[in-house]
Amino acid sequence: MRKASLSLLALFGIAASIGAQPLVVQSYMSDEAPKNAFAALVAEFQKQNPAIKVTVNTVAHEQFKTQLVNYLTAKDAPDVLTWFAGFRMQQYAMKGLLEPLPESTFPGGSFVKEFPAAFKPAASYNSKIYFMPQSWYWWAVYYNKDVFAQYKLSVPKTWDEFLSVCETLKQNGVAPVSIGAKDTWTAGGWFDYMNVAVNGGTAHQKLTGGTVSYTDPSVLKTFGYIADLAKKGYILENAASYSWQEAVTPLVEGTAGMYLMGQFIMDSVPADKKASIDFFSFPKVGRPDYGVDTPTDGFMIPAKAKNKAAAKKFLAFIATKKAQDMMNVTLGRLSANMTGAIPNAEAERGLAMVKGAAFAAQFYDRDAPEEMAAKGMNAIVDILQAPDSYKDILTALDKERVRIYADLK
């Protein structure tokens, strides 16, 4: 036994010392399609840079999130990490755990040569850039066209139209709104879209920034609309027992009519049903303009990374149009690079919707501190289950807001 463990130890020592210029990429792209697309991308980089030996470690997405702090603070931190733009990244830049990316890192010589200027705030902190955007997608109301055709419904543009669509669906035994609230982030979409539709983008930014109370009359109004949907029975029954993906099935089957979700919902719609599922922009609630959620995914470098030069080289490669197309055209998402190709007609419509928006948010759990968003999303799920006590739930939530933002300082 002792001999065996000694030789085992020796074996590890050898394995660790082989290979010059290693570059360790820690990735949360654990589903098959993105994983394969990313592997192809890495192979291309490897071909161009034979002196660098890239190792990609893939970690299940949800577990990656829980382990990120470990990766950032470990002695032998990985060189490149996949992550999200917005506050979710900035909180680590604030603590000095991330390596800033000088403008010269970007292939065109500056951030704005490659990416829309609108992406810059979410990718930087304190006027330094820390984040290399790769792809983004939009959120919208996805609906079953067959169901709408069967009950002669048209796409609702205003809240009143939306409610009447819900009523018709409910009368016919179809759950109007599907939501997989076991994954509480599904409620985050409702929070963003509803609040921006009611109060506008600037007010929403203040709320996720922590300077507006959750018991403010304007916020109460937002949550009043959500509570109203639940009170009228427009939400899928037992929503809290479904994961987001399990709640797609009712939409596909036609036992539910609509689902507020990100573009990636199409990944889990069966091939023969894809033609039946389409999206429309969130209905307007008394304001002429509208907002969108456009979560941006990309990469960052830990401050403790060992091989920062190679890591920056890798990020510069990721930023190019060619590299972004390799990934995003395959997956049907939109490239952060301005010159990136638009993968299909669906993406063209999504892009048009985003371009027409007056305000673009990342997502509740990316704009607000993680803990705040977690509490907030739980609160929305609670409201869906007990809509009558939504004011009490928000009062409790606001106490958390005061504590969480005070802790940040």
Binding site: M1, L9, D31, E32, P34, T55, Y71, A74, D76, D272
Partner: protein
């Protein structure tokens, strides 16, 4: 009085019948989730997402899910990694705890009870509480992201239960079996090695099976300590089938079935020790 003669017999038959009906029902109920897992593992993702009836058998049998999980998803490497972590951990934990169990069972020293309580107290701490200290310690010792690191932590964490279990078993061994060889001049090591160990085989085997299953199924420590794909055990590999966007239920089910085979095999192999080993010493603490 004549009629009552048949009474107990008829009642016994009825009870036996009821027993079989109920136990069959309970077994069927227990097997239902496994059956659904088998169905799911043989379906295509489109079939799963297209219908909410998870209990229906697959329309087309997709056996390739298993080969895909084994080859493309890399289950073969994950299974091997799990073996390389589990076997040394179980052997190490049994080795160390049989020594501590031996000491606590046969040596009379003042802090004997206190040391035993310490071992038991260790069992009561939820492991989640130790995640950060373990991470910091292994990072400082450069044991993070190495196989020996995970193995050492498994041994350390299983030590409490194993020691408690083996000490209780060894207490049932008559003390004269230790005393007699001592008088004849046998060393303590010889007593442990030649007398106590052979007598403990059945409880060591039972404990080994338990430990094997527990360490095999561990997710937490591998998640905290392992970063490289090349070292990942099966539990992390299964979790990897849940992506940022899509979870592959069919792959996860196929992978879970593969992952369950080894502990099942170990259990079947050692099951004759299992019941006897667990209950030996049950009547004497």
């Amino acid at each position: 009085m004549e009629t009552r003669k048949n009474g107990p017999d008829a009642r016994k038959t009825l009870l036996t019948l009821l027993f079989y009906v109920f136990s069959t029902l309970i077994v069927a109920l227990w097997l239902l989730p496994i059956l659904i897992a088998v169905f799911t593992s043989l379906k295509s993702m489109d079939e799963i997402m297209g219908s909410s009836k998870m209990w229906t058998p697959p329309k087309v049998l997709h056996w390739e899910n298993f080969t895909r999980v084994w080859n493309k998803v890399g289950m073969s490497a994950y299974v091997l990694n799990t073996f390389l972590i589990t076997v040394p951990s179980v052997v190490g934990a049994l080795l160390v705890s049989s020594l501590s169990g031996f000491a606590l069972a046969f040596y009379r020293f003042r802090l004997n009870k206190a040391v035993l309580v310490l071992f038991i107290a260790g069992m009561l701490i939820p492991f989640q509480m130790l995640m950060i200290p373990v991470f910091r310690l292994s990072d400082a010792l450069s044991l993070r992201d190495t196989r020996p690191g995970v193995i050492l932590f498994h041994i350390a964490f299983q030590l409490g239960f194993c020691t408690f279990f083996l000490r209780n078993f060894m207490r049932t061994i008559p003390f004269s079996l230790v005393e007699a060889p001592r008088i004849d001049g046998a060393s303590e090591w010889t007593i442990y090695r030649k007398i106590i160990m052979p007598l403990s085989i059945s409880s060591l085997a039972a404990l080994g099976v338990l430990e094997f299953t527990w360490i095999w199924n561990d997710l937490l420590w591998s998640l905290v300590l392992i970063q490289s794909d090349s070292l990942k055990p099966v539990t992390l590999g299964l979790a990897n089938m849940q992506g940022e966007f899509v979870s592959y239920y069919n792959m996860t089910a196929a992978g879970s079935i593969i992952a369950a085979i080894a502990p099942l095999g170990v259990f079947l192999l050692f099951q004759r020790y299992f019941i006897s080993g667990l209950t030996v010493g049950a009547e004497k603490g």
